[in-house]
């Protein structure tokens, strides 16, 4: 049982790290402020979900009350990030628009919004 949970949680944490890495690479590669937020805000949420899920799974491999409580707390972290992350991303985009920053457009695509 412990081998199975360790294996599954290890895979989940590794997959989460891939998403974090993708988010960081996207931050460098994408062309402008707004499109960088896609990778900064969203891939991180997914990476957090996977790594935290892996940890919660690992911690309940022996079912004592304390371990279950710790797993519940980890899940609550994910829940709160899920509510606050899009709100924060929206606030940053809104600040950019209010400051008058124009989104980057691909050359040759139709002009304007």
């Amino acid at each position: 049982m412990i081998i199975l949970t360790s294996l599954v949680s290890g895979i989940m944490i590794l997959a989460g790290l891939v998403f974090f890495l993708g988010g960081s690479i996207g931050m460098i590669r994408l062309p402008d402020f707004y499109s960088r937020l896609h990778s900064a805000g969203m891939l991180d949420t997914m990476g957090l979900m996977l790594t935290m899920g892996g940890m919660a799974l690992y911690i309940i491999h022996d079912l004592t009350l304390n371990n279950v409580l710790s797993a519940l707390k980890i899940i609550l972290i994910v829940v709160f990030i899920f509510i606050t992350s899009p709100t924060a991303t929206h606030a940053i985009v809104d600040a950019g628009i209010r400051a008058g920053m124009k989104p980057w457009r691909k050359r040759g695509s139709e002009a304007g919004k």
Binding site: G22, G23, I25, R29, L30, M42, L69
Partner: protein, 171 residues
Amino acid sequence: MKTKLKKAAFVTTFSITFLILFLFWCIFSGKFDAFHLSLGVISCLLICWATSSDLLIVPPQISRLVRLWSGFVIYIPWLIWQIILANIHVLVLVLSPDMDKRINPKIIKFKSRIKDTVGLVTFANSITLTPGTITVALNMYGDMVIHAIDDESAAALPGDMEKKVAKLFGE
């Protein structure tokens, strides 16, 4: 507000808020001896006494709230699945060597048919949570401005998600 309420409604909201708060106290404290539990009861009672009429539950809508939360139980797994799919899409996009050809950042505008303000916020947050699309602006009449990273993400809106959120809020 408290004075206007019927007594029964007040007792219901008070006890539900108390139970939710106390459950969270138990999870966060993790100690189940008499001292810590009584501290929890006292602080939860204090908070309920001060704010229970509008902290978690707005009293006139209890039946609506039950329907809403049962709807969320169905909606959230679907949303998580959509988030996973869209995340993989953006991950592939970001890591692909010909990223410059595949992305096409654009701003799209549309009018949502959702009327409920909480529904609109849920819809906007769902859009932002799904990678590839960010809600830029939203007003209470349902005019939405979305920043999308490529054509595929832009084409998916408003689509299924709006239907599900509208159904959730009974429209």
